[in-house]
Subunit: 415 residues, 4 copies
Amino acid sequence: MTKLADLLSTLFDRRYGRSGVGDVSQGPIGDLTAELMGAKGEITGLTVARAILDRYAGFSDDEKLAFFRHLASDMTLDPGRVRAALDTYEAGETKASYAAVMMAAEPRRQELIRRLNQIPGATGALVKMRADLLRLGKHEDALMALDLDFRHLFASWFNRGFLVLRPVNWESPAHILDRIIAYEAVHAISSWADLRRRVEPRDRRCFAFFHPAMPDEPLIFVEVALTRGIPGSVQTLLAQDREVLSEEQADTAVFYSISNCQAGLASISFGNSLIKQVVADLSIEFPDLATFVTLSPIPGFARWTETLELPGPPEEDDVLRALAARYLVEAKRPDGQPLDPVARFHLGNGASVHQIHAGADTSPKGRAQSFGTMVNYLYDTSRVSQNHERFAASQDVAMSADVRNLASAAEKAIA
Amino acid sequence: MTKLADLLSTLFDRRYGRSGVGDVSQGPIGDLTAELMGAKGEITGLTVARAILDRYAGFSDDEKLAFFRHLASDMTLDPGRVRAALDTYEAGETKASYAAVMMAAEPRRQELIRRLNQIPGATGALVKMRADLLRLGKHEDALMALDLDFRHLFASWFNRGFLVLRPVNWESPAHILDRIIAYEAVHAISSWADLRRRVEPRDRRCFAFFHPAMPDEPLIFVEVALTRGIPGSVQTLLAQDREVLSEEQADTAVFYSISNCQAGLASISFGNSLIKQVVADLSIEFPDLATFVTLSPIPGFARWTETLELPGPPEEDDVLRALAARYLVEAKRPDGQPLDPVARFHLGNGASVHQIHAGADTSPKGRAQSFGTMVNYLYDTSRVSQNHERFAASQDVAMSADVRNLASAAEKAIA
Amino acid sequence: MTKLADLLSTLFDRRYGRSGVGDVSQGPIGDLTAELMGAKGEITGLTVARAILDRYAGFSDDEKLAFFRHLASDMTLDPGRVRAALDTYEAGETKASYAAVMMAAEPRRQELIRRLNQIPGATGALVKMRADLLRLGKHEDALMALDLDFRHLFASWFNRGFLVLRPVNWESPAHILDRIIAYEAVHAISSWADLRRRVEPRDRRCFAFFHPAMPDEPLIFVEVALTRGIPGSVQTLLAQDREVLSEEQADTAVFYSISNCQAGLASISFGNSLIKQVVADLSIEFPDLATFVTLSPIPGFARWTETLELPGPPEEDDVLRALAARYLVEAKRPDGQPLDPVARFHLGNGASVHQIHAGADTSPKGRAQSFGTMVNYLYDTSRVSQNHERFAASQDVAMSADVRNLASAAEKAIA
Amino acid sequence: MTKLADLLSTLFDRRYGRSGVGDVSQGPIGDLTAELMGAKGEITGLTVARAILDRYAGFSDDEKLAFFRHLASDMTLDPGRVRAALDTYEAGETKASYAAVMMAAEPRRQELIRRLNQIPGATGALVKMRADLLRLGKHEDALMALDLDFRHLFASWFNRGFLVLRPVNWESPAHILDRIIAYEAVHAISSWADLRRRVEPRDRRCFAFFHPAMPDEPLIFVEVALTRGIPGSVQTLLAQDREVLSEEQADTAVFYSISNCQAGLASISFGNSLIKQVVADLSIEFPDLATFVTLSPIPGFARWTETLELPGPPEEDDVLRALAARYLVEAKRPDGQPLDPVARFHLGNGASVHQIHAGADTSPKGRAQSFGTMVNYLYDTSRVSQNHERFAASQDVAMSADVRNLASAAEKAIA
């Protein structure tokens, strides 16, 4: 791929690198962006796009910031131009006047990003570029506005219809598995042996979304355990010496870890699609699976209890479970959404709060964030749409009778 | 794929098809587009998107027009909303005010098309939809404005970086070859035997661009003959009994046919990229190839001679070649571009007019459009950039000394 | 592949082609076989093996015969050597004495054939070589003995465990489909359009066995129609304007054509495995399929009726069906096996004679060989083993009550 | 695969497991082998073969030995039968009498092994079976004779023409890499990080032979370093912090580790083919590579010095190199072959002894077996054939002038 791209440059654009004018390896980067956007861009596009991405790859953070500010200030929206185009359009709604509005209303940096994307491998480089932008620019409104353009394009490029769901298992390429280890964000994978226990046994599955232009990079992945009954402990689930189930024995699929892989794809949502797709895939492969649940952390639980003025840290299992139930179903942000981010995600997808377990995550992280409690969200396929609608309309949280009772008990306890 | 999509619908959206409200198989299509754009769209999106595409697939032309007019009138730009957003933005350039402008300035039908694209196979269906739009709507400005939104999205989705170049040969899947037969637009392929002669011998090549979301549909393809010397007759090139060259014997690659496959991708340009990429590919595979030329039709030549007030139809080879040279290098549109569409394409890519042949296409079509004359455009990799720039800047047509002499001769002849 | 093989030769065996001694492009072929079997064979094996196969490929039939006779006379069994080895072995059964018997008892041409097989593509060339041998040598006992060595090796190389079952459909490579057209031996495929009707619709399937060393060559294939009920006419089955069934509508799989592709693999049986495997595959894909039958020709029927001294050619449907039933279940070869070759194959596999249809194959070939009658053999998976055992033990022919009645009726008719 | 095989058994052989007679899960294994060899074998073969392999997989070593002895005694050669067939053959050399000799001279266990090989995955199981046989039977002549039958069949099945050379790199499936770690026999791979350093950098390569019927099991692999100049230390080659070369910088390919993977394929030689093939592959990919050498251990060197009655262990580098040279070129087995097994392999392939390095393998194993010395064998493609022939004919060892001088120096030193 790279060899071919090199050849393309060499073959068609030999002048670059010779003459001062077109030397793409130095000079102001603004000259290159101008060149890419200009009339010659069409024919020398690959060379210039490559030069910009190559230069960017060697930039320090300061240089990156300068580049982003260049895009933010020199290639942004021109309100006057938009107004002028709107005037013409309102005077006569023709194809041409419509085109003029569209052209004026789209900041030129969007076209720049599209042109950068022409060369092989550019998509991944642009996703990394946005990760830099989010990291470096988060306190500058102009850069966050620039980010909206990246996000707008990425939402189009990473449209669900372009993504490919692939199983990840012990027969997957090592460089993909290497990234799974690196990207696991919920229950860290400590070694290749640990990874193997999660992807090789017949009662363990892992699925990831990929984009065809970034075939070596998972975008998001979910780890699944096939179990008999709903499990209440992640350590049990991941135990080294556990017994492996046959396909006939399993009646439940447990989504015990979902990790986004690309910082540069923040706010481009795939999680909902991934779960639905995996539920469908598993239903075809294992027609006997009756229950689809998560085994999820409750990351904001411990911090929330600090607001309760309890006599001391809650320690009894019953109290913990009751408080956790109350936290999940009652604690809200000012906008009425659940305080817990994981709850927001799954309830927004149409899941319900199904069971709460004490002593379910005994890792230091699990103890610190939620005194070791975890929760199962249930994906009952016959209720997902209805749950979602009610939650969207009136923020009604769907829950099991058991959880409802726990939450009531907590109410008394606190009161 | 379809099986999985069916299951997804069945699993998660069982209510559809039961209750009156959500029945997606009938009722006004506008209700469905509204549903897809609404709050529930996120979770039931696949089902509703699929329903819209399924309904569309069964539409008559009248119903298609009605659907397009619905998009054109109900989901178009709202200038007032854009102005209001611009007011706020100019009062304070924040991320939020920028986002509001972007949101207001993008017609809602763009988001609709993106959401339709979420289901497997949708991309191809949307390309077909645009082909319908171009066919049915070409005389309605509002529909041509709608087309600009399709085109805008397609330019992003079919970005060069997302396309895959694949060789097409006798080991390619039959359903792909079947489409090559159907889409060949320059020198019709009369049978599978004819196709085989073009893709199987070691001195014949064919390459096509594909998009990952439409793996069964070539987007554009080029047919190449490896020859010894520059050929001057397409019938000789395609002769049944010709001698096949070994790889060592060939010194020239001849692009003798380039066909766009998808009416729905009109104005989304890949041709330039395709030729450059194929030149690079062939250069790697056959380091001894020294010359890259086309053997191209001159579609507007005969019609142009009618404007010359010649005593009779030109019949002598020398006269024909001289007139063709003059036509190619001198005949211009009002905007200064070459009158001949094929010349516009190759000269715009940086090729030069290299040789002109009489008696080069003796088919009825060849005789009718150009008295049988054809032309070689030369892709000299060391001059392509320079040619392109001069052509872009001042419409200078690059040509060989031979062609220059021919054109001069014609001048005298006509005068 | 070829390029690499060339390079291998060039790299390691440059002396060949230079010196007289080792020139592999001319001289007696016996020198080459001697060289391949000699001490140097190990290191120069690829070059010499390739030279022999290349020389062979250019041979006339007479030269081929000479080559076969060389193998038959110069590299055959040496009974004296076997006896001597047996003497030693019986005097002391050691590893060495056993090895000596094995070595002596295997004609050296077997090792020659194995050594020829070392180069890429050799397997297919050797299969073609055996086809030549069967064609040219069938009246020479020494050559038929040589054939037993080919057959012995091929039975080992084409062991069921090494074969791969692959579906053949409209997405298969054209060069594979091209061979399907060429190899169809039962109901000729008249064109690519005819082929397409047999492999593209969702209620038509085709499966072939392949060997990894001959990936471009099907070994045997079967064409299957999914139908509602058991069909009684092949023309109806293959009609251009027939209605395509959905997967839910089909309850029957009809094996209507089985063709061996490689003359050089005669007597290496795959047919039985192929049908069993396809039944298993289809049972997984379509759990509702209840019936697996063939729609088979009755090739020897017409000729057999000539032995009956009937008053005239049978013409009425009832008479034809009765006579055909009798022919299939009663007419035997001297060794007790069914006279009809297709019946031998399917009854030997454990199928039963299920239904007989008049007017089922109205093609000239069908009329000529069986007055248009055809037969369904039933593969009832619960009876296949039992049927096979009874047939193997006592040549009992399994049949339906209907066929039994027909055969009885015929008895009366003839009597 | 397994699912399909299960279904095949279930579909066609339901009676097994029900009735006492055919129950394949218990009873004497001899009944099963008899059944597989009998008339029914053809139709129920897959079921019975599978049963035998399943039973075998659960056997203790004692049961395995019993099984092997059953094959050794009950299914071995019958000299009387061979003699009788020879008598008939000599009385009349017909196809039938030849077939009878072949049938009689092949022990029936060969056919048994071929029939076991019919089921998916059987080839790998049979390779493991032979590994057991070699381990358990090495002191029983009858079992070693049985092994000759395995070996005979495996030589045919694992013919060079059936093997596939595949690169192994960081994009290879993890389960393949896992086996590479396990099978590395020369310089142990200590971790996945160590493995990664050997297969990921652009100046490191690994190639393995695979058989299509055992796609998950490498048969033999070689690790290659691309270097500038010939390296004299394996620790330097494998250092964590070494600088990675670009493709242009490398002029030498170093084969620094070759490992056979399958104990059950002992004496089935692929090593010679592997090196030749990899040399050819690398020559195509890197036309600038000028030198192909090994960096090889000298496993028998230290032990050999013990026979020299030296005053003490040799410690000086010059002395070590001289002694090693002498050992490699002079020390012979009684049959005249080099004493050192690695030397035997490479000299037999046509390589020459090129350079000797002291301090080249400072690992405990390296120090113990050869005081840390290592040797480069040179594969000079223009001399490989000639070297091989001389070595085969007169055991002449090819060596560089440098090595010749070292060996002479040693002569003096010892004397």
